[in-house]
Symmetry: C4
Subunit: 272 residues, 4 copies
C-alpha cells in the first residue's frame, strides 16, 4: 500500500501546491485565492481515486484515526505514513522544479528564496503553511485542530457504506476540502495534514529557503504536524459518539445508553 | 435522532458562518462574496451526509413540512428541532471562538462587537442575517418566504425515490443552496432556516453584541424565524399539487382531477 | 405533464433571472458575471429534477426536437410548450416582484423601467436577453443557433441510457449550461430557449418597460425565439448522424453506410 | 469510431476555445481567467459523454497510451487521431466564425489578426497556446510533459472498473482538467493534447494570423505536440508501476516483486 499512498499523495501535492504557485507567482493574474482552495480540493479528489485501493487516506492523521476507530491494521501504519511523506516530498520537489524560473522572476533575484515575514516577495508559503500575523499560538493550534476534526467527520460520513457517496466519495472530498479552505483557510492555511505541510517544508529548507522555514512565526512548523493528529482523533470521537452505530471503541460501552436516551435506530430514512 | 441532527447542523453552521467570517474578516482577501454562497452550500452537503440517518433535515422548517406532508412522525419534531437549534448554537460558538482575534482586529478594538447599521466595521452579520437597507418589511418577508419555498421544492425533488439523486442527494443540495444564495441572497441573506439564524443571533447577543442584534433593522430577527416555516409549507403545497403523485394530504382529494385534466402518469420518461 | 413542465420552468427562471437580478442590481457587490452563468445552470439542474417525470425539457426547442427525433408524442407538444411558457412567465413575474424595490433604487427613480440602449441604468436585461452592440443580425442568429445545437447534443448525450449520467443527468445539465454561458454567453446572452426569453420579455412589456423591449437592437426579440428551434433540430441531426445508433429518422437510411465505412459498433468501451 | 471522436473533440474545442474567446474579447467583462479553466474542463466532460462509445479519448496522446498499456487496438489509432484532429480543426473554425466580429473589434482593425509577442491586442492565443515569456524551452517542455502525465494518471484512475467514477467518469474529468488548469496552466497554457493545440494553430495560420503562429516563442508550436505524447506514456508507466494490478506490459515482469515487497492486494478497502 506504500506505492498507492505514495502516488496518491504525490498527486494531491502536485495539484495543491501547483495551484498556490500559479496564483502567487502570477500575482493573481492566473487565478485568485479561491483557485488555491479548488486546487488542494481537486488534488485530494484525484489523489483519492489514484490511491483508492489503499483507501486513499493521503494523510497520516486520517490513517492514525482509522487505526484507532476502524480497525485499520496498525502494522500498515508505517507503510502508509512513509508513503504519504515520501509522496508529499516528491510532489513538492516536482512543483518546485516546474516553477523554479517563475520563482526567480517573482522573488526578483535568481536563487533568492525567502520566507514570509522576512521578505514581501517571499515564496516559501507556496510549499508550507505560515499563519496570519495576528494569530496566537492557541488560536493557530485550535484552527488546525478544528479544521482536521471537521475533515475527519466529513470523510467518514462520505465513506459511510449505507448513506455515503459510494464511488463518488472522492468527489465529496473535493467539496469537503474546498469548503474547509473557504471557511477555515485564512488563519493558518488549513494544512490539516502533517505530510502535506512537513514534507514540503523540509524540501524548502533543503533548496535554499534555509532555517527560517523552521523558525518563522515562532517555530510554527510543529503545529500543522501535531494539531491534525489530535484533531482527527477528536473528530473520530465525536462521530462515533453522535452518529456511528457500528463497531467502535467508543460505541462498545456507549451504544446502550444512546439507544435508550436518543431513540437511535428509529426512523432511519425520514426524508423521502 | 437528536444527536444526528445536532452534529449535522453543527457542521452546516461551521462551514456557513466560517466562510462568511473568512471573507468579511479578511476584507475580501481570502475569499469573495461567492465564497460565502459556497460555504453555506457545502455545509449543508456535508451536514446532510453526517446526519443522513436522521434524514439530514438540519432545518426546523423542513422538519415541520416533512411532518405535514410526508408523515414524518410528529413525536420526533421536538427532538429534531432541539438538535437543530443546539447544533447551530454550538457551531456559532465554535466559529466565534475560532475567529475571536480576527474579530478584534477587524472591529478595531479588542472586545468591540458591533451590529450592521451601528458601525461600518460591524461583524454581527457574520453570525446572523441582516437585510439590505432599502428593503420593506413585506419585501424582507417575501424574500425569505420565496427562498425557503424553492429550497423545499428542491429538496423533495432531489430526494425523490424514482427520479432523485439517490445517495448523491446531498451533492444536489449543495448546488440548490448555492443557487439560492446567488439568486436570492442579496436582499435578506437567505437564512431560509430558523435554526441557522436565531441560534447564532442568540449567541451574538450573549457574547457582547448586545440587544442591537434583536432591535436592528426594525426588529428584523423574527422574519428569518417565521417566514421559513410558512415558505416551506407553501413549497410543499406547490410540489404536492403540481408534481407529487404519492400519498399526501394534498393529493388525496386532488389526484383524480389531475389525472383527468393533465394526463398525469402519461409518458413518465420522455427524455432518452 | 403541463403541471410538471410548468413548475420546472418556473424554478429554472427563478434561479436564472434571480441570479442576474442580484448581480446587476447589487452593482456586482453580491455576485459577478460568472454567478449569472451558475444561476441559470443551477436553475436547469433543479428544474430538471422537479420536472423529472415529464422529462424535464423546460424548453420548447428541446421538446420539438424530441418529437422529431425521439418519438416524443406530438399530441403532448402543446401541453409541454404551454407549461414552459406559462412557467417562465410566472417565474419572471415572481423575480420582478421580489426585486421591485431594488429595481427602483437601481434605475434611480421609482417606477422608472428602461431597456438597454435607452439608459445606462437599464434593467430590462435582467429578464430578457439583449445582444452586444457590435453584433450583426447574422452573428446574433448564428450565436443562438450554435449554442442551442451544442445544448441539445449535450442533453441527449447526458441522457443516453448506456453511457449517460443516469439519475445525475441534471447535474450534467448544470455544467453543460454553465459551460455554454462561459463560452457563448457574451454575444447574445445565450437564451437557447424561446420560453426563457419570450415570456419574461412579454412580462417586461406589461410592467412598464414598454414597447422598447420589442424594438430594441433592431427588433432582436425574434432571434432567441426562432434560432433555438432550428439550433436544436440541427444538433439532433448532428448527434443522430455521428453518434446515435438507436432508432431515428436519420439513422434508418444512414446506419448501413455508417457501419460499413466507420466500423460502428466496434470497440464499444475502449477506455478502461 | 472516427465520427464519435470527431464530434467529441469538436465539442471539447467549442467549449474550450469559446470560453477563452469570451474572456479575452470581452476584456474580462464576461468572465475571468478561471472561466477559461472551467470552459476547457466542461468541454472535456461533455465531449466525453458525446464520444462515450469510442471511450471519449479526444486526445491523440491518450489514445496512444491506451494502445501501449491497455490493448486499445493499434489498427484503430489512425481513425481516432484523424477524428480528433479533424474535430479540433472544425471546432476552432466554428469558434473563429462565431467570434469574428468580436475579434475585429478587439484587435482594433477589421481583418487584423495578430500573435502574442507581435501585438498587445493579439488574439491568436484564443486558439493555440503560447508560453509565458520567462520560460525556457526545457521548462516549457517539462510543464506540458508533467501536466499530461498527471492528466493520464487521473483518467485511468477515474476509469478504473472497481474504484473509478463509473458513468460519472466524465464529471471527474471536468475537475481533473479544471485542477490542471489551476495548477499548471500559467506557464504554457496546459495544452496536454496535440489535437487541441495543433489543429487550431493550423486554422489560425490559414485565416490571417500568418506564419507567426509557427515561429512565435522560438518555434514553440512543436512542444505541445510532442511533450503530451511522452507525458501520457510516462504517466501510464507510473500508474501501471505503482497502482495497476491488471494486465499491462509493465506488470507482467513487475507484479511478483511488488506483491512481495509492498504487500500488494492486502487490505483492498481500508476506508469504511
Amino acid at each position: 500500500m506504500f506505492l498507492s499512498e505514495f502516488l496518491g499523495t504525490f498527486i494531491l501535492i502536485l495539484f495543491g501546491l501547483g495551484s498556490i504557485a500559479q496564483v502567487v507567482l502570477s500575482n493573481d493574474q492566473k487565478g485568485i485565492f479561491i483557485s488555491t482552495n479548488y486546487g488542494m480540493a481537486i488534488g485530494l479528489m484525484i489523489g483519492a481515486y489514484v490511491a483508492a485501493k489503499s483507501g486513499g487516506h493521503l494523510n497520516p492523521a486520517v490513517t492514525l484515526a482509522m487505526c484507532v476507530y476502524r480497525k485499520h491494521p496498525w502494522r500498515m501504519l508505517p507503510a502508509y505514513v512513509a508513503g504519504q511523506f515520501a509522496g508529499a516530498f516528491c510532489g513538492a520537489a516536482v512543483v518546485y522544479g516546474n516553477y523554479m524560473s517563475a520563482i526567480d522572476v517573482f522573488e526578483g533575484t535568481a536563487s533568492a528564496r525567502t520566507v514570509p515575514g522576512f521578505s514581501p516577495r517571499a515564496t516559501a508559503g507556496v510549499f508550507a503553511t505560515y499563519p496570519a500575523t495576528f494569530m496566537t499560538k492557541t488560536g493557530e493550534f485550535f484552527s488546525e485542530f478544528l479544521a482536521t476534526a471537521i475533515l475527519y467527520i466529513g470523510i467518514v460520513s462520505l465513506a459511510d457504506k449505507k448513506h455515503g457517496a459510494g464511488n463518488l466519495m472522492p468527489l465529496g472530498l473535493l467539496f469537503l476540502v474546498f469548503g474547509l479552505g473557504l471557511a477555515f483557510g485564512s488563519e493558518t492555511g488549513y494544512a490539516m495534514n502533517p505530510a502535506r505541510d512537513l514534507a514540503p517544508r523540509l524540501l524548502t529548507s533543503l533548496v535554499g529557503y534555509g532555517s527560517h522555514v523552521w523558525t518563522a512565526a515562532g517555530h510554527y512548523f510543529w503545529i500543522p504536524v501535531v494539531a491534525p493528529f489530535l484533531g482527527a482523533l477528536f473528530g473520530g470521537f465525536l462521530y462515533d459518539t453522535f452518529i456511528f452505530t457500528g463497531e467502535s471503541p467508543i460505541n462498545t460501552p456507549w451504544m446502550g445508553l444512546r439507544k435508550m436516551v436518543f431513540l437511535e435506530k428509529a426512523n432511519e430514512r425520514s426524508m423521502v
